[in-house]
């Protein structure tokens, strides 16, 4: 993208690159496009193997021929967010002005900036209107931002396990993660790439702390309990005696292979700054006045990171402007991560909602 992007922080940023994947085919009317928005540590590989880890795409359970996000019917676009580290311009890329990695001289970005960048991509692809914008967690924040910033482009919006603003508790958890990264001597004030170093331990700790928030206590207990890891008794030391410790260490150590520490700082910050009501003088309904989009808000009973109460608040704001909204709270023990997992109720809800929208949109098979 050659034209610079006006960012919320006041910087005109660009040129910049957006890396994206598509699935399925755009129809002749250009009316079947679905924008899939990824979460904090997600990327554009929603439904194909990750180029670094080789693991299946993060939404492979949903995307595919005949799937909930049916690639025989819809044209799916998933783009790496601005500030990300999988091809879209982020702090690990080279600042043309210095010839060095941006690091902390990369401008602070917001969810709205991410959405502005995605809008550029759609303009580039010649798609003026999206059949649906869908995503979980930070992806859900982007969905809401789309609905607020470009309502005329959004026929339907599905924010899953999301909220209209980041809570104090969530900001607090993010701050723990950022401090862990910045406390790593290999972080070097953010300049680790130029110095040939990598704050792997700090980033791993950030991931471990965050990972706990993605699970429910019940799920952790069911999965690990107090089970010991490859041993019959505790060792009276600080090895990973418990399975849950071993699991978290594994989560941390594999994460650093595929994620950039500065990207983590920037993207968590973007989530912290997210507050749709603040953009409109403190009124959340004001963000959606006059909207004609069809909303399907989904939350999970055991999600304590983005609890149902926050989705309900969003639903009330949408009701206040008499928007067309559906809201389902799905009973599950899988916590915040439920949106990434096999949740039959989630699938059925999405399938029905999208089928209804497709009929209203006049999309035929």
């Amino acid at each position: 993208m050659r034209e610079p992007l006006q960012l919320d922080c006041g910087v005109d940023f660009g040129p910049f690159t957006i890396a994206y994947q598509t699935y399925g085919a755009l129809n002749a009317e250009r009316s079947n496009a679905i924008l899939v928005c990824h979460a904090l540590t997600g990327d554009q590989y929603a439904a194909d193997p990750h180029p670094i880890t080789g693991k299946p795409g993060w939404w492979e359970t949903l995307v595919g021929p005949g799937g909930v996000l049916d690639t025989e019917r819809y044209f799916l676009i998933c783009a790496n967010v601005l500030g990300g580290c999988m091809g879209t311009t982020g702090p690990q890329d080279v600042d043309p002005a210095t010839g060095d990695a941006w690091a902390l001289s990369f401008p602070v970005i917001t969810v709205r900036d991410m959405v502005r960048a995605q809008k550029r991509l759609l303009d580039h692809l010649g798609i003026g209107s999206l059949f649906c914008v869908i995503g979980g967690s930070m992806g859900g924040m982007q969905v809401l931002q789309w609905a607020a910033s470009y309502p005329e482009c959004v026929f339907s919006a599905v924010p899953i396990a999301a909220a209209a603003r980041h809570s104090a508790q969530n900001i607090a958890f993010h701050e723990v993660g950022r401090q862990a990264i910045m406390a790593d001597p290999d972080w070097c004030g953010g300049r680790y790439l130029s110095l040939g170093r990598k704050p792997a331990r700090g980033l791993a700790v950030a991931r471990m702390a965050a990972h706990i928030t993605y699970l429910s206590e019940t799920a952790l207990h069911r999965k690990f309990g107090r089970n010991l890891q490859d041993r019959r008794a505790v060792t009276y030391g600080f090895d990973a005696d418990f399975q849950v410790e071993s699991y978290l260490r594994h989560q941390g150590s594999t994460f650093v292979d595929r994620f950039d520490a500065n990207s983590y700082l920037y993207i968590t910050r973007a989530m912290d700054y997210f507050d749709l009501a603040a953009e409109r003088g403190g009124s959340l309904p004001a963000a959606f006045i006059g909207t004609r989009s069809r909303f399907c808000v989904i939350s999970f009973t055991s999600d304590w990171l983005f609890p149902t109460a926050e989705s309900r608040e969003l639903v009330h704001a949408l009701n206040a402007v008499a928007a067309n909204v559906s809201f389902v709270e799905i009973a599950t023990e899988n916590g915040h991560d439920a949106f990434l997992l096999h949740e039959p109720e989630l699938f059925e809800t999405l399938r029905g909602f999208l089928a209804g929208c497709a009929e209203h949109r006049g999309l035929t098979r």
């Binding site: 009701n319 909204v325 559906s326 109720e345 089928a355």
Partner: protein, 225 residues
């Protein structure tokens, strides 16, 4: 923008099993007859969405629903209806005044925690409200209590007292008096017998309160209030 979106009401409505449309409950059928084509309707306690689907299909109604049970909400959303998980006590305040042409509360009032507040909300957010409820003044209810001395159980009130969701039962006369108290105008009322057939009785009279098993009331807000 390259395109604008249209949400034309005349567009095809989502599929709902055809059989379900023909088996619409008698009291819902009566309510459906009271709703004009193309109206904006909110159905509170919409269950599996049978009324909403019927209204969308047969009358081109722009319908929304509120339902407490997850299975009900999922069934509705799965059929392309716009329904939120919630209840009448908690979720009505957010709607602006006059948001809907018609608000329907069918066989749900007796299960709300604050029926008075709910009825006030109904006539605030709807130009008209249609409320149906079981009549606790029905002679069988009275007779059962008199002769057996036990809380009544019927097909409209099927649960024993210790596990019934119906915590605020009233008679037709009670309901009319509540409407008077909050200044809601009774536009129309129909009382139904045990088979869901309408009686030609004045709802304010003692006979309706004795003979009707349920009442269906059409209310409007009092603009002077």
């Amino acid at each position: 923008m390259a395109e604008t979106l249209s949400l034309d009401r005349a567009q095809p409505q989502p599929a709902f099993p055809a059989a379900a449309l023909d088996e619409l409950r008698q009291d819902l059928r009566l309510i459906a007859e009271m709703i004009e084509p193309g109206a904006r309707v909110l159905d509170i306690g919409c269950g599996d969405g049978a009324l909403l689907a019927y209204l969308a299909r047969r009358k081109g109604v722009d319908g929304r629903g509120i339902e407490l049970s997850q299975s009900g909400v999922n069934a509705c959303v799965g059929h392309g209806l716009s329904v939120i998980q919630g209840d009448a006590d908690r979720d009505l305040d957010a709607y602006p005044a006059g948001a809907f042409d018609v608000v329907v509360l069918s066989q749900t009032l007796q299960a709300t925690r604050q029926p008075r507040r709910v009825v006030e909300a109904l006539v605030r957010i709807g130009r008209r409200a249609i409320v149906s409820f079981p009549n606790f003044g029905f002679w069988r209810v009275r007779l059962g209590l008199l002769t057996r001395g036990r809380m009544p159980v019927s097909h409209l009130l099927p649960n024993p007292w210790y596990e019934t969701p119906n915590i605020h039962l009233c008679t037709i006369r009670d309901f009319v008096s509540l409407c008077d108290e909050i200044g809601a105008k009774v536009e129309r009322s129909v009382t139904l017998d045990r088979h869901g057939r309408p009686y030609a009785l004045d709802p304010r009279g003692g006979l309706a309160n004795l003979l009707a098993e349920q009442g269906v009331f059409v209310l409007s807000g009092n603009p002077s209030c």
